[in-house]
Amino acid sequence: MGDRYKPETIEQVAEIVTWAAAEKVPVEVVGRGSKAALGRPAQTEYSLELSGLTGITLYEPDELVLSARAGTSMAEIEAALDEHDQYLAFEPADYDALLNGRPKDEAAASGSLAGVISCNLAGPRRIKSGAARDHFLGLKGVTGRGEIIQAGGRVVKNVTGYDLMKLHAGAYGTLSALTDITVKVLPAPEKTRSVLLFGLEDAAAVAAMTQAMGSSHEVSAAAHLPSGIAKDFDSSFFPNDARSVTAIRVEGPGPSVSHRCAALRSELGGQTDSDELHSHNSTPLWRYIRDVVPFVSDVSAEAGDGNAVWRVSVPPARGADYVAALKLKLGEATEALRYYFDWSGGLIWVSLPEGEDAQQHAVRESMADFGGHATLIKATAELRGRIPVFQPLDLGIAALSSRVKHSFDPHGIMNPGRMYAGV
């Protein structure tokens, strides 16, 4: 390994990237390193760490806006927002425990703001409030050309120039090294409650979630934990008879929340037993779902615990159809399959033995009838280097993506190959 640079100003970032571009040496761009094991493994000699660029530079709660330097820890951001009862509505997911095998009871968020934005990580509220990309208002950064650019601003309504924020959200640092990020923040809901439905099979659960999402009760999350997964969540509110749990969350002012919960229970509960979790007990459940805790072990992705974890995105109402198709393709291998649903069926977390190829063909081909994609989130570097981590792109999109990459980074020095070979 070569050097690791930890610049403290945007000018230093520009100087390092300018040098790397001149020398044509690839650089691994990292925030605080918590997601180093996400994506295709880096094969770079040098790394550029943004963790030296820290601090919230602007936070105006009344204006619903926050700016911070890229390497600011999510823990610091969330603490600042907490003080004003605000939050990032996309519910940023924290895969630290999943990827690095750290203890699951650590409450403070891991990683940096730039990391969350660059990987476009969103939690259960994504189904209602959008992903990180939907809350990303402005950026400053250094392109692979070594040039300092800015885009967007600090206001929510802005159509001045191309939306480069969207392009950078989910680009895994392959275009620019972000140095400053501005996000939209929102008031956190006063109360949270979750309606629990017990014992539904996958198809019935997805149908119930679809019905809830199609109601006017402003559901903010809907997840289904099949029996094995539900049993692992240590809650006295769950049945002890190993039945599945379908959870539907509503948030808002107290009177509204109780009213909507009651309405949901009467509309959905007819088919099965139901119960309700109040704010205090709801929070750990949704964190469990958000951070993929069911598939956390005390072994890191790097060391390998024998299992691979896939994140599968499909049209929400087809979630159960996807799993049924997957089981059919897996045949006998179904025995080792573990899975659960978030996003009202639109996000399926799948755990399978790593084996030869973590069953990539079965996982990726089971959505053929309705579209979607699968990302290999947790696997050994060896496997992530050998099979596509991200869904292979259509040829036209792949060609366009590589031209877009080239427009920012003509020498391919910024996190090359982190997403796709050649990008």
Partner: protein, 495 residues
């Protein structure tokens, strides 16, 4: 407004080009007659007029692909157009270019209530989507004021907003997928009914790209369930500061209203004269706060907002007790533009966004400018999201007034940028704000944005002359001036 020099060879080949285009789009779909082309000479920004060389109205993605491929090969410029309601000249034709009208793409292809989305063709109107799904209690959230006429394809190109953006987002937050055609004829599909597309967020990049990157031929939009109920408060204040303070205190109380609209005195008077909505006339600022959602929530929050309004010194206050009354509150605001049109021969509608707390300062400066230019101005303001629409009053028949109004407008937009805002909140840059782009972006920023365009359209054939004040050739933009150097920062800690 300086547009790229027309290519005389293309103009002289008009007949031949028309024949070739008719091989792709037969019959009425290719318009070459100069009188008929007049229909396309301008969009919602009527100050600029230029008939196109030819207008083509394809009916299928395949035709769009073949037309673009032909234009690419023959080096002919293309300006895409939906309903032509752009307020920034986004669909202004070029003398040597074709207008590619998507009006015949007017079908709704699939409504999927289970996945809460609809697949529609780009020529379907914004309101047409809601009309098609409202029987089941659903709607499409972004609601630009031109929603009766404007098309969803145009909404994608402009990333259109509306009055409910703070709570429900802009177009970009309400899309799931696109089919689009690149200038070389390549047809691409991005996203679908699932929640996010794989790879780079090209869907997000396309949204608001003003027809410079590709031509959209199909759109998958998110549908939302209609809120159970909506109620509005109509509040009068003796100053815009006081109204602004209430807006801040509502948000500080953790409430995100569905809509918050402010009008200043001239706008209130014009609207009241026009529609008799019952607005108070002796106030400096009028605020409409609308809460929507479950009944239990709206009733509860209404009390909180009402108490806050009292605390912030609202001098008049009315709470809508019926749907009829709520609509009456809105009637004046929704008619504000035509109402202003009644008190002035012409008006010029601006569209900057500012940090909300800068409103009193911006209004004060605008009054000074108004005196300086001797032109009146009325203001409507999306108070929730900071999007300001000053309406500059002028008379186009008076020598030099249009130019004066334009200068006034440019000063306002520079002021928006100066206080931390942006040049355009929802109308787009188009030709109108093109030359102001350097006030917001550096030369490097603008060159990088144009490099992104080069990835889609290397010969700059799609809607050239819009958005960017200076056109650079892609080859020139691609160059890098590099001197090989030493390892950077010998003094920096490495580990």
């Amino acid at each position: 407004m300086l547009m790229p020099d027309p290519d005389q060879t293309v103009i002289s080949r008009k007949r031949e080009i028309v024949d070739k285009l008719r091989e792709i789009v037969p019959g009425e779909g290719v318009i070459a007659d100069e009188d008929e082309l007049k229909v396309y000479e301008s969009d919602g920004l009527t100050a600029y007029k230029q008939p196109p060389l030819i207008a083509v109205l394809p009916e299928s993605t395949e035709q769009v692909s073949r037309v673009l491929k032909f234009c690419h090969k023959e080096n002919i410029k293309v300006v895409p157009r939906g309903a032509g309601t752009s307020l920034s000249g986004g669909a202004l034709p070029l003398a040597d270019g074709i207008i590619l009208g998507l009006g015949k793409f007017n079908r709704i292809l699939d409504i999927d209530f289970d996945n809460r989305c609809a697949v529609v063709q780009p020529g379907v109107t914004n309101l047409g989507i809601t009309k098609a799904v409202e029987d089941e209690g659903f709607y499409y959230a972004p609601d630009p004021s031109s929603q009766i006429a404007c098309t969803i394809g145009g909404n994608v190109a402009e990333n259109s907003g509306g009055v409910h953006c703070l709570k429900y987002g802009l177009t970009t937050n309400n899309l799931l997928g696109l089919e689009m055609v690149l200038i070389d004829g390549t047809v691409l599909r991005i996203g679908g009914k699932h929640l996010e597309a794989e790879g780079y967020d090209l869907l997000g990049l396309m949204t608001g790209s003003e027809g410079l990157l590709g031509v959209v031929t199909e759109v998958t939009v998110r549908l939302l369930k209609k809120p159970e109920t909506a109620r509005a408060l109509l509040l009068g204040f003796s100053s815009s500061e006081a109204a602004g303070e209430l807006v801040a205190s509502i948000i500080a109380a953790g409430i995100v209203p569905g809509g918050m609209e402010m009008m200043d005195r001239p706008a209130i008077h014009a609207a009241e004269d026009f529609v008799h909505a019952g607005y108070p006339l002796d106030v400096e600022a009028l605020l409409i706060v609308e809460l929507d959602g479950p009944q239990a929530e709206v009733d509860y929050l209404m009390e909180t907002v009402s108490a806050l309004a009292d605390a912030k010194g609202a001098v008049t206050k009315r709470v809508s007790e019926s749907e009829e009354e709520r609509m009456r509150f809105w009637a004046g605001r929704k008619a504000a533009f035509p109402a202003v049109g009644r008190i002035s021969p012409d008006y010029y509608c601006m569209d900057g966004t500012i940090p909300r707390n800068q409103l009193p300062h911006v209004l004060r400066r605008m009054r000074e400018m108004s005196e300086h230019y001797s032109l009146g101005v009325a203001n409507v303001f999306h108070a929730g999201d900071g999007n300001l629409h000053p309406l500059i009053l002028y008379d186009a028949n008076k020598e030099g007034e249009l130019e004066k109004a334009e200068e006034f407008g440019a000063d306002i937009l520079r002021l928006c940028v100066e206080v931390g805002g942006v040049l355009t909140g929802e109308h787009g840059v188009g030709v109108e704000k093109r030359d102001l782009m350097p006030d917001m972006f550096t030369d490097i920023d603008l060159k990088q944005q144009q490099r992104v365009k080069c990835a889609f359209d290397p010969d700059a054939l799609l809607n050239p002359g819009k958005v960017f004040p200076q056109l650079h050739r892609c080859a020139e933009l691609g160059r890098m001036h590099i001197s090989r150097g030493q390892l950077p920062f010998p003094e920096l800690p490495r580990f």
